[in-house]
């Protein structure tokens, strides 16, 4: 805004104008967000200091008891660890896989157009649909293992029944659904890189690896930001896939995630207060992760 020319009265008019602008442009959205997301989060936070159990009234204030119990709760720690592993795997697999496929598809022609749509189809499916499909493939006598047996493997892995494997299987299913998103974003990023840059680098004697390191990768920074944030979201929220594929098992909490643990504790065990404390810890982590991730990634965007 050009403030140099503004006498004081005009500036006051501007600030009134700013208020109107806030009321018209920002207030509706912020109000709805406040009422229907922040207030519920506030209520959840309030519950986290109580022993609320709808089937066992009355509700008492218990202070920090829930939080201190959480610290020594093995199941919660396990769920936290599982969530971190899932989020990590999903973020790495979708980004690495998505970038590789995008570089493969970065050409013109009907084949590449069609394949682009193919990779995106899972993104529009519901997580439950995806989980049911993969379940038919991954169960011990499912399609994958019958194929492996045909190929001569006598004892194929129990993708969902082996406690050491199930968490990675669940991560894979989540990642599979997310890859298409990353492919599309990276493709857009790749196509936005001016051809001249590649050519200049080639003239300077850079091989393909060097060109990727010094031209492609820095230019993709905004795409990396979007994909990382979306993968973090997908990983952190993981619930449906766990519920359908493993129900948190096999064995106690083997594949339980934070979201799964919260819902189980609240709706199966009726411990709403305790579940709220979990939710609050989860929200704090989420906030920290998003702020850090966004800060780091945007720094990279600016510097590149």
């Amino acid at each position: 805004m050009d403030l140099k020319r503004s006498p004081r009265s005009l500036r006051r008019a501007r600030s009134r104008d700013g208020l109107t602008r806030f009321a018209v442009f920002a207030a509706p959205g912020l109000l709805v967000y406040l009422a229907l997301v922040l207030v519920p989060i506030g209520i959840t936070t309030a519950y986290s200091f109580t022993n609320k159990n709808p089937f066992n009234p009355p509700t008492h204030w218990v202070g920090l008891d829930n939080l201190t119990s959480l610290v020594s709760d093995d199941e919660f720690r396990k769920a936290l660890w599982n969530t971190i592993i899932i989020t990590g795997i999903v973020t790495i697999v979708t980004n690495a896989g998505g970038l590789a496929i995008a570089m493969l598809l970065d050409r013109r022609g009907w084949l590449y157009n069609m394949l682009r749509s193919v990779f995106f189809v899972p993104v529009v499916l519901s997580a439950v649909v995806v989980s049911v499909i993969w379940q038919t493939i991954l169960v011990d006598d499912g399609l994958l293992n019958s194929k492996l047996r045909q190929l001569g493997m006598s004892d194929p892995p129990g993708w969902l029944s082996n406690p050491d494997l199930a968490l990675y299987t669940v991560s894979w299913v989540i990642a599979w659904q997310g890859i298409g998103f990353c492919v599309v974003i990276y493709l857009a990023g790749l196509q936005g890189i001016p051809q001249e840059l590649h050519e200049a680098a080639a003239i300077d004697g850079c091989g393909p690896m060097m060109r990727f390191r010094h031209v492609t990768w820095p230019m993709l920074a905004p795409a990396v930001t979007i994909n990382t944030v979306m993968s973090l979201i997908g990983g952190f929220k993981a619930y449906d896939q766990v519920q359908v594929l493993t129900n948190g098992g096999p064995g106690p909490g083997t594949t339980s995630t934070l979201a799964f643990q919260v819902v189980q504790t609240a709706f199966n065990g009726n411990h709403v207060g305790y579940a709220s404390a979990m939710a609050v810890v989860m929200l704090v982590l989420v906030a920290a992760v998003s702020v850090i991730a966004l800060g780091l990634l945007q720094k990279r965007e600016v510097s590149s």
């Binding site: 193919v118 189809v121 529009v124 599309v184 989860m282």
Partner: protein, 275 residues
């Protein structure tokens, strides 16, 4: 020396695509097979194809699919239009504001992106009841507007950065008010961003299951996605019926995506990817 290289890319792209597509292929072929064919040969091509599974879903005596389709379409269409409009305005406002409060609002919104809906569902219904909006369509839509606002703002705010500020200032000097400048100059320029917001919210709201079921209430909240859940329970091992319901329930949203796909990538990556 050069020849195999020419073939390497399309061949490996095709191979990757085929492997990736296999699970979807399984659904597609088994929708058109009867139960015994699914068990005996799940991977084979359906010859001759049967439409029994599809017909079974479409002609259910309780009209589960058709009622669900009407409800899903209504709720999804209204929600995404409202969210797009409101989050475009908010995203633009926050991207153009430099104050600390705008930064705080942005971070508060970002945190909302990762809150699993189940975590806030119960208190959310308390708020809606206090507003007198529980068990109503406006109540559900309002809940969606709040929950998905952060995503819209995230996309629009990113995109606004690619629109030159001078353009808005020029329009303002011409005497247009802020409202008109936004709708007549900025919003049309943000079409790609609108397309991505519409698509993603469309997909998410279409596929949501818990909110309609609880907020609209068990009697009215039947959407196609609830239908998928119910058909899984009712048919269990009868994959033909389950897959047919999934197929039909996904078709509208897939068509919606294909219609908008050209626009939406630009919207997410903004002009930023131009370098």
């Amino acid at each position: 020396m050069n020849k195999p290289r020419v073939w390497l890319r399309p061949a490996s792209a095709l191979l990757a695509g085929l492997v990736f597509f296999l699970p979807i292929y399984l659904v597609l072929v088994n929708v058109f097979k009867d139960g015994s064919a699914i068990v005996s040969n799940p991977v084979g091509v359906p010859i001759p194809p049967t439409l029994d599974n599809i017909q079974g879903v479409l002609s259910r005596p309780d009209h589960l699919f058709w009622y669900g389709l009407v409800n899903s379409t209504e709720v999804t269409a209204i929600s995404i239009i409202i969210i797009t409009v409101i989050s475009a305005m908010l995203g633009h406002f926050l991207a153009r504001s430099t104050g600390v409060l705008a930064k705080v609002a942005m971070v508060a919104l970002l945190c909302g992106l990762m809150v699993p809906p189940a975590v806030i569902l119960t208190p959310l219904t308390d708020v809606l009841r206090a507003l007198g909006l529980m068990s109503t369509v406006p109540g559900l839509i309002l809940a969606y507007v709040g929950y998905y606002m952060p995503f819209g703002v995230f996309v629009f705010a990113g995109f606004v950065k690619t629109i030159p500020r001078e353009l808005e200032e020029a329009a303002a000097i011409d005497g247009a008010g802020a409202f008109r400048v936004f709708w007549q100059v900025v919003f049309p320029l943000m079409r790609p961003a609108s397309a991505s917001v519409l698509i993603f919210l469309g997909v998410w709201i279409w596929n949501d299951f818990l909110n309609p079921l609880i907020i609209l209430g068990p009697a009215a909240g039947t959407t196609v996605t609830v239908g998928i859940y119910r058909s899984i329970g009712e048919h269990q091992a009868d994959f033909g019926s389950v897959f047919a319901f999934m197929f039909l329930a996904t078709l509208p949203i897939l068509v919606f995506y294909l219609a908008f796909q050209k626009q939406f990538v630009k919207g997410l990556t903004g002009g930023a990817t131009k370098g």
